[in-house]
Every structure is written in structure tokens, then in C-alpha cells.
Amino acid sequence: MRAGRLFAALLGLATVALVVIGTLWPIPSAAAFAGGRSLLQSASTPEAAVRNLGDEIRRHDWDLAYTGLANKSDFTEFEFEHDLTGYYPCLRTYANLENFDIQPLHSTADDAKIRFITNWSTVVGPVTASRDLNVTRSGAEWKVNWPIRREPIVPPQIVPEDYLRWDVIFRGPGDDWGAQNVDSPHLSIVDMHPVQRAEGVVVLGELMNEDVVPAYVAITATLQSKDQSPIATESAFDMISHFLLPKQVTPFLISFPGQSLSGVGSIRMTPFSSLVSAAAGPVIAIDNEHLNPAPDSSLSGELVNESGRPVSVAHILGTLYNKSGQVVWVVGQYTGWALSPQDPAPFNIPIPEDLAKNAGSQRTVVTTFNYGGSE
């Protein structure tokens, strides 16, 4: 009995001692995650200077990050912070820097160029960005020259908009049995075929809103065996444009990881649509679209917001066609930044190398969202 009490007392004392030690002399990573600065190193090398900057950005310590920049006289701390978080509400406004990577590109005794690759966690998944940073020696320390990205200043003005807008009044709960309701929009699947990939079966195709009203759309595919029993059911999730104006076409891509086409007898497609209140704007033009060949095959271009106000998020979907016009793949990406009026915003969406050589043409569609709802 006495031995047990002694053991409990020792255990308590050891716990208190460890808490005190951990508080007074925390390990660097714990201090960094707790908001301290202990992870920062002396900026005695270009890499260390960039790494320090990355840690400060990750902690949202804008003041410290800005203070350590070599070219801070070129811009304000406000501009630096909003260069990273967006001038208008966008995906990056609510994102966190998950981690970063640095790749030295060039180095001399007094300056260096380092690629700073940042991985942000956003509400639509991870977003990767990169900037090439010039780092210069300043005495015993190295300092980063931040390549500021300034948002174009739109002069104060009133931009008249006359977008068509649809509102929907559905049948009410008090209506009599048999009272008329408004039908859901009519859709048609204009193309659909399965593809076997290393990771599983992929169903590709295109869906069109045949109606004269906007539609919220979704599509589900069920793989069926040769005896018509279901194997698996999946939906397109975000590899589809969920909002379609009249006669608008969206691609879709539905993945069935781990499935083999050899066991599939048929595929049952289930499109879904519902009426939504919506506006026919803003118009987003896509300029300089290119299918870039391997290596680093990609679909690139520029989005131009032709309306008079910023757009928070744009969802870009590229449909790749082969020479005979059949869909061979669908690629997608979200813009991290808001689209300012008339300011071209470049995009670059990677394409799997083996599919890039089959892609003869492409069609890109953009869906936009503003905080407060889809547009």
C-alpha cells in the first residue's frame, strides 16, 4: 500500500517536472506550432532566409515577415499581406499555408534565386503556388526580395449591369393536391464513355442543359456487371460544372478507383437537375488557351472577368478531345485569387502525359462563385 502511494507521488512529480521543462525549453517545432518564433534560424544562407519567411507566412506573422524583406520600401505591409491572402474575398483569404518547399535555382556570393513552392489548404482542397524569389546578401544575413503582385486599381465608378435573372416560385405546402408545380430543367447526356486507367475505371462525357432556364446539375454513374447487378456507384463531385445556363454544356468525369472495365457489363447514368435562382452573369472570357505538349503538358490560358465587379472564385474545367472529337479527359482547377474586372488571370492545369498526346483540341468552361452564392 505504501509502495503504491510512493509510486503515485513520483508519477505526479515527474509529470509536473516535464510540464515545467517543456514550457521553459520547448522544442523548436512545438514552439513554432504554438505561435512562438523558435523555429526560425539565423538567415545566414539564402535557403534559411526563405525558410524563415515561409514559417512567418505560415504563422500569419505578417509584421515579422514584412520587416525581414529586402525590398519592403517598394510596398506596404498591407499590400504584402493581401498579396498572399487576396485583395478581395477568395479561396486564399480562408486558406492556410500547410507546408512549403524551396528549390535553389541559381546562387552567387551576393545573390541567389530560389523557387518558393507553397501548398495551401483551402475549402476545395490543396492549392499549390510558386514564386521565384531573389535573395540578396545584406551584411552577414540574407534577405528576400518579395515579387509583389499588385491588384489593378479599378477607379471608383458605377458599372450598369443588365444580366437576366431567374427566380423560382415552387408549389407551396398549402396548395391543393394536383396543383401545378414547375418542372425541373431538362438535361441531355451528349457524350458518355468509360476509360480504363491504371487507378481504375473513369466515365467521361458531356451534359447539356436543354432547357430555357438555369439548372443545378449533378450526375451519378453505376457500374453494372453482366448480370445487371450493381458493382459501384460514384458521382462527378467537382469534375463537373454544377450550374448550367440554357444550352450550356459541361464535361463530367466520374472515377471508380480500383475497378476494372473487364467486369463491367453496362453503365447506368443518372443525371439530376433542379431549378435554381440565378443570374446570367458575369461573362468570363478565356483568352490565349493553349494545349502545351509534354514535358509538363498542360492546358493554359487567361481568364478575363468582363463584368464590373470582382469574382471570388472561378472553377475552370477543360475538356480534351481527340482528333475524332471524342472526350479523352477532363481537367479542372480553382483559381486561388479573385478575378478583378478586365484583369487577365493566368491559369495552367496539368494534363496526364499519356493523355496529352491524344488531345487534339479542347474546350474550357468556367463557373464562378461569389461569397454568398453561385453566379
Partner: protein
């Protein structure tokens, strides 16, 4: 104990004889059927007091009565069509009978299921109407009854048909007309009628043509008024896709139609190929030579 058993047997025999004689006297005379909402009466026979119950779909009536008299029920006592059981109960004795309540023969209300609420012009047998005929108490009238359907468009065109409702339901099919607008779809039966609205919308663009002209350092592309194959202007908001292909690049813009026309400004590339499409309908192509 030797005395109790004969007494009990005697009492039971008395009750049985009395009950048998009373049961012979207890009776009820109920109509086999009545029309919903009509007045009716039920006659009883026997002596003493009793309770009369009428139990049916969604409704129960109870009356106390003096046996040998009639119980009268005023109009609108039984409204729901169906089979009711009539129970006359006196002490431990009871008589039952069946009473059928029939729907009224005069239609008072029609429920019309008209589909779809919206459809393109010029489609055969695409509008369906199913009419259900009810009396004033919302009972389905199951006896054969003539139902007339009429579809009239804003242009004045009318289609009409009639059908006999069997078991309360009649249906028809009609064509959408060639002009857009809100059609009135009416069903009549007797003095009852009901109206629905069917919206006829323009079909796919039939001919899509555009023109291009210089606008500063940009190209302005504009379609001619876009019509469907029946001559209706396509619905505002319809997406028209403009594509400009140049060297190894391309520009596209999805533009909603406004007042029948779609226009957009695109980059100015000499030698670019301009094309226009809406949904699966392709328009003309222009090579921009300036």
C-alpha cells in the same frame, strides 16, 4: 353450496330465455345506400333503449334511441363515400347492417395534373392532362362522366378533346403549338372546370449567324437575331459560345443571349478563325483578315 348451484342455473336459464325473446324483437332497417350528404333515417324495432352507431371512413356517428322508433339524420351527416357499418346495440344485444354512401353524381371539383409545365414549341403529343373528378364533398365520382379538355394559345389556336372518366379519371394528350407563350389548359366536367398554364418555350436555335467588326483594338462579334425553326426568338439567357482560333491558341466566351442577340468582344488576331455555336447547333465561321 347444495342450494346455490340450482339457483345459479335457474338465473342463467332466465337470462338466456329473456335475451332470446328480446333478440327476436330487436331489429334495424337501414337503407342499403345513400348519396353523400343526403338526409336519411334508420328504423329500429323492439322495446327499451338502445344506441345506434354508424362507423365508416373517417367518420363515426352515435345516437341514443328508443327502440321501435326511427332515427333521422339531416343532410351532410355522412359526407365521405364508402361502406359504413350500422350497429344497433341494446344491453348485450346487437344488430348490424351495411350502408353504402355513394358519391354525388354532379361534379363539383376537378383536379387536373397537367404535364409538363414547360416545353418547347411544335412537339406532338407532348402535353398530357389527367383529370380526376370529385363531388362537392371531394369524393371521387366513379360513375362514367364526360370530361372535356381544351388547350388555347395566346395566338388564338385551340385544341380540344373529350374523354369519359372511368373510375373517376380521364386523360388526354395534345401537341404544343408553333408559337411560344403561356397556353391555357382547361378541363370541364359538368359545371366544374379547372385551368392550368403550360408555358411553350422556343426550341433550339435553327440558324445561327454572326458578323465580326473591328472595335478599337478588339473584335466585336455579334449574332443576328437568333430564332428557332418555328420563327420564335430564342429565350434570353441562352448560352452562345464564341470561339476564336489563331496560330496555336484559342479564345472562347460563353455569352448569354439578350433580346435575341449575343455579342462579345474578343482579341484581334489577323487570320483568326471565328466560329459560333449554341448547345449542339453550329453557326457560321468567319476568317478574320481585317
Amino acid at each position: 353450496m347444495r342450494h346455490i348451484l340450482p339457483c345459479l342455473c335457474a338465473a342463467l336459464a332466465f337470462v338466456a330465455i329473456h335475451a332470446a325473446s328480446a333478440q327476436e324483437q330487436l331489429d334495424l332497417i337501414s337503407p342499403k345506400s345513400i348519396v353523400a350528404g343526403s338526409a336519411f333515417s334508420i328504423q329500429s324495432s323492439g322495446s327499451g333503449t338502445a344506441a345506434l352507431y354508424i362507423v365508416g371512413p373517417d367518420q363515426v356517428l352515435e345516437r341514443s334511441l328508443q327502440l321501435g322508433t326511427a332515427v333521422s339524420f339531416p343532410a351532410a351527416s355522412l359526407n365521405n363515400a364508402g361502406d359504413y357499418v350500422v350497429i344497433l346495440s341494446s344491453d348485450s344485444r346487437a344488430r348490424t347492417a351495411w350502408l353504402e354512401v355513394l358519391p354525388q353524381t354532379e361534379p363539383a371539383k376537378i383536379s387536373l395534373l397537367a404535364r409538363p409545365s414547360r416545353l418547347p414549341v411544335d412537339v406532338s403529343n407532348a402535353i398530357t392532362g389527367a383529370a380526376y373528378v370529385f363531388d362537392s364533398y371531394r369524393n371521387l365520382i366513379v360513375t362514367p362522366i364526360k370530361v372535356s379538355f381544351e388547350l388555347s394559345s395566346p395566338s388564338g389556336a385551340k385544341q380540344s378533346s373529350s374523354a369519359v372518366a372511368n373510375d373517376g379519371a380521364a386523360w388526354t394528350e395534345m401537341n404544343s403549338t408553333s408559337s411560344e407563350g403561356d397556353d391555357r389548359f382547361v378541363a370541364h366536367a359538368g359545371r366544374a372546370s379547372v385551368e392550368r398554364e403550360i408555358r411553350q418555350v422556343p426550341g433550339n436555335p435553327c440558324q445561327l449567324t454572326m458578323t465580326a467588326q473591328q472595335s478599337g483594338n478588339r473584335l466585336e462579334l455579334q449574332t443576328a437575331p437568333i430564332h428557332d425553326c418555328s420563327g420564335n426568338i430564342v429565350a434570353d439567357g441562352t448560352i452562345v459560345t464564341f470561339t476564336e482560333t489563331y496560330d496555336d491558341g484559342q479564345s472562347t466566351a460563353d455569352v448569354p443571349v439578350k433580346r435575341g442577340i449575343a455579342n462579345v468582344e474578343m482579341p484581334d488576331y489577323r487570320g483568326a478563325m471565328l466560329s459560333v455555336a449554341s448547345g449542339v447547333v453550329l453557326g457560321n465561321q468567319i476568317r478574320w483578315e481585317k
